[in-house]
């Protein structure tokens, strides 16, 4: 055998010996907390860090393990979570959106009832009642909400807007489409689209549905009072098709890359939740100068609508470190925790006693509007449809988008079927 090969084999053995010094698994005898989220990087990770720092300060003897699985909007994380639950290895706490998504876990009997904690911490007086209702099933509360994000936000770069001849934020769908055309005439893509994983396109559809139907009819879609096959939805899909035609040509961008098209002057508008703002700030950009915002266009409602979603943390049944999990939840619901988490995450606190001075101008405006605006839930982020329905939603919308946005009838049919099958 060649000397080179012998050397190589020796190297392999050496690596094995070195590797053997790495512990095969954490043999932790101290207290430990394992949390499971999909906030792996960027502004979201920074927000999480704010919370975990607060936790470590309050619980210095507990080792903290971040079992995050990458993939925006939880597209991968949810799968891994299922696998872990099935393997009898649940984390000590995991992230779940308030609303129908949480119900998936409640129905499967995977999370513990936390009503006792609410009473103990006085949260039933501090959290908005309507929000807590979305966490409740059969009178029992199943998770602790940490934030509120707004999904129907329109972002743009002031410099690009000037270039395209757009002077004010479009208030209605029609104005919006007209502005898109102005952008195209100026040689810029009208809207930045993030096709990877399909969810961002579904997010856009949510906002277009709201903007075309208005809040009441939009809410009716989930209650069954608005027909999916009716003329309103047809109009919304027609708007959607038009808007998509002004999108960028790269069809599988991740959402931060799509956002960069806007701040980089290559696209005019971006419709995305307010986590976009924290991502841009993490990149060093300035709110107001490099990018600015307005409520997404709405042709029906005169007053602004708040399309919300909320991240919450749960206590899985069978968690190995239940006490540590409860300690974490206490921090999640605490004033210190929420005000450390949310400014960095780009969301507003759930607690009504939150300190507004810690938040930037956009978030302060959001806090005000949260108290006054009419609320509708985001579909793609767990409020209206459960996990299975959301997976189908992403597929149906993705199919439409990659199919060149041609099969409007197929899209409507698919959406109606999801509503019909959803539990």
């Amino acid at each position: 055998m060649l000397k080179k090969s012998k050397l190589a084999i020796a190297a392999v053995v050496a690596v094995a010996l070195v590797g053997a010094t790495v512990p095969a698994s954490n043999a932790a005898t101290d207290k430990k907390l394992e949390i499971f989220t999909w906030w792996a990087s960027g502004g979201e990770a920074l927000g999480l860090k704010g919370m975990t720092d607060a936790f470590t300060k309050a619980n210095p003897n507990t080792a903290f393990v971040n079992a995050s699985v990458a993939g925006a909007a939880g597209t991968n994380a949810k799968g891994v979570l299922v696998s872990r639950m099935k393997a009898g290895n649940p984390p000590d706490t995991f992230q779940a959106h308030a609303g129908a998504e949480l119900t998936s876990y409640i129905k499967a009997g995977q999370v513990e009832d936390l009503t006792f904690l609410y009473k103990q911490q006085g949260w039933d007086k501090i959290f908005p009642k309507d929000l807590v209702k979305t966490l409740t099933s059969n009178g029992k509360i199943y998770s602790v909400p940490v934030n509120i994000h707004r999904a129907n936000v329109l972002w743009w770069n002031p410099a690009t807007a000037t270039k395209a001849g757009v002077t004010a934020a479009p208030a209605t769908m029609e104005e919006f489409i007209a502005d898109l055309k102005k952008a195209k005439d100026a040689g810029i893509d009208g809207i930045a689209l993030a096709g990877n994983g399909d969810w961002a396109i579904a997010h856009l559809l949510d906002v277009v549905l709201l903007g075309t139907l208005g809040a009441d009819k939009y809410n009716g879609l989930w209650k069954g009072t608005t027909s999916w096959t009716g003329p309103e939805v047809k109009k919304a899909v027609s708007n959607f098709t038009t808007i998509l035609s002004y999108g960028n040509s790269s069809k599988a961008l991740d959402w931060p890359d799509a956002g960069k098209l806007v701040t980089g002057g290559k696209a005019l508008f971006f419709i995305m939740g307010d986590w976009a703002s924290s991502q841009w700030q993490a990149d060093g950009l300035k709110l107001g100068t490099d990018y600015t915002w307005a409520v997404a266009p709405n042709s029906v409602d005169k007053k602004p609508i708040y399309m919300w979603l909320s991240d919450s943390f749960t206590l899985p049944k069978g968690a190995k470190n239940r006490d540590a999990g409860i300690a974490w939840l206490k921090v999640c619901g605490s004033l210190a925790g929420q005000d450390a988490f949310n400014p960095a995450k780009g969301s507003i606190a759930v607690r009504t006693d939150s300190d507004a001075t810690k938040y930037d101008s956009y978030l302060q405006a959001a806090m005000k509007e949260w108290k006054t605006d009419k609320l509708v839930g985001s579909t793609v982020h767990g409020v209206n449809w459960n996990n299975a329905a959301m997976a189908s939603y992403n597929t149906v919308v993705g199919k439409f988008y990659t199919g060149g946005a041609k099969d409007a009838a197929g899209l409507i049919k698919g959406l109606a079927a999801i509503q019909k099958n959803g539990k």
Binding site: M1, K4, A8, G19, A24, S68, A70, R84
Partner: protein, 298 residues
Amino acid sequence: MSSQLVDRVLTKDIKMNAKRKLNGNEQFFLVFKYFSLVILAIIAALPIYIMVINSVKGITGVTQSAAFVPPTHLNFDAWGPVWEQMKVPMGRTAFFVIQSSIISAIIGSINGYVFAKWKFKGSTFIFTTFLFGMFIPYQAIMIPLTQFNQWAHLGGSIYVLVFAHVIYGIPICTLIFRNYYAGIPNELIEAARVDGAGMVRIFRTIILPLSIPGFVVVLIWQFTSAWNDFLFAIFLTGGSPNLAVATTALNFITGSGNQVYYGNNMTASLIVSIPTLLVYMFLGRYFLRGLLSGSLKG
């Protein structure tokens, strides 16, 4: 497949051809050949070229639009932080991969010996049933395997991956060793038996010493497939960071929809690929042997 044949693949005697002076037609063909080979080589190297040059442009300096452009100066900024993130998963991967490869090799060698030299009634049929195990899609056993994982409480340790790769590596390792040992003449075994040696003694004194090339082939093959495996890793460890291995940790960095810095992404991809690339570069001849043994016939 005998090792001589493989050697012939690897070291074609070109002395005969090289000495002759080529006529015009043949010269043209030769140039054409080289041209085609180079074009194909460029195409083959393109993806890794992208990976390599974008890993030395620092953390923030990597943009998709400049994917092909080499850096003006080398910037290894991304390597430090990425290594910090990846070193434990890589170490853990080396730990389980080497163990599972060694165990696989031992089992494969014993099985191969039996199927090649100490057959029993129905052994060919049994061998064929082993081979079928090589072809199954892992999706077909994934759900039961995760349930087994839970039932046997293996889920908390990296040994679940050792277990999985050993079990599902049995077919290919058996095949490689069996083909390898088939090339050992039976007269050798006969002669030893005439001298009074039994099955085990023959294995120890004749077969094992001759097996080193076979072991190297199997070790490399199992090392590469276990190191690059993603399916078993993600299903059986569930993404738990205590059990993160190279591929799952890499997916953490590259799979993120929240990705900001492609420099990290490219560097991590490169770092994870280095061990198998090194194995391939230095032990490529044995890697090739492993590939060819997997072809059953031919």
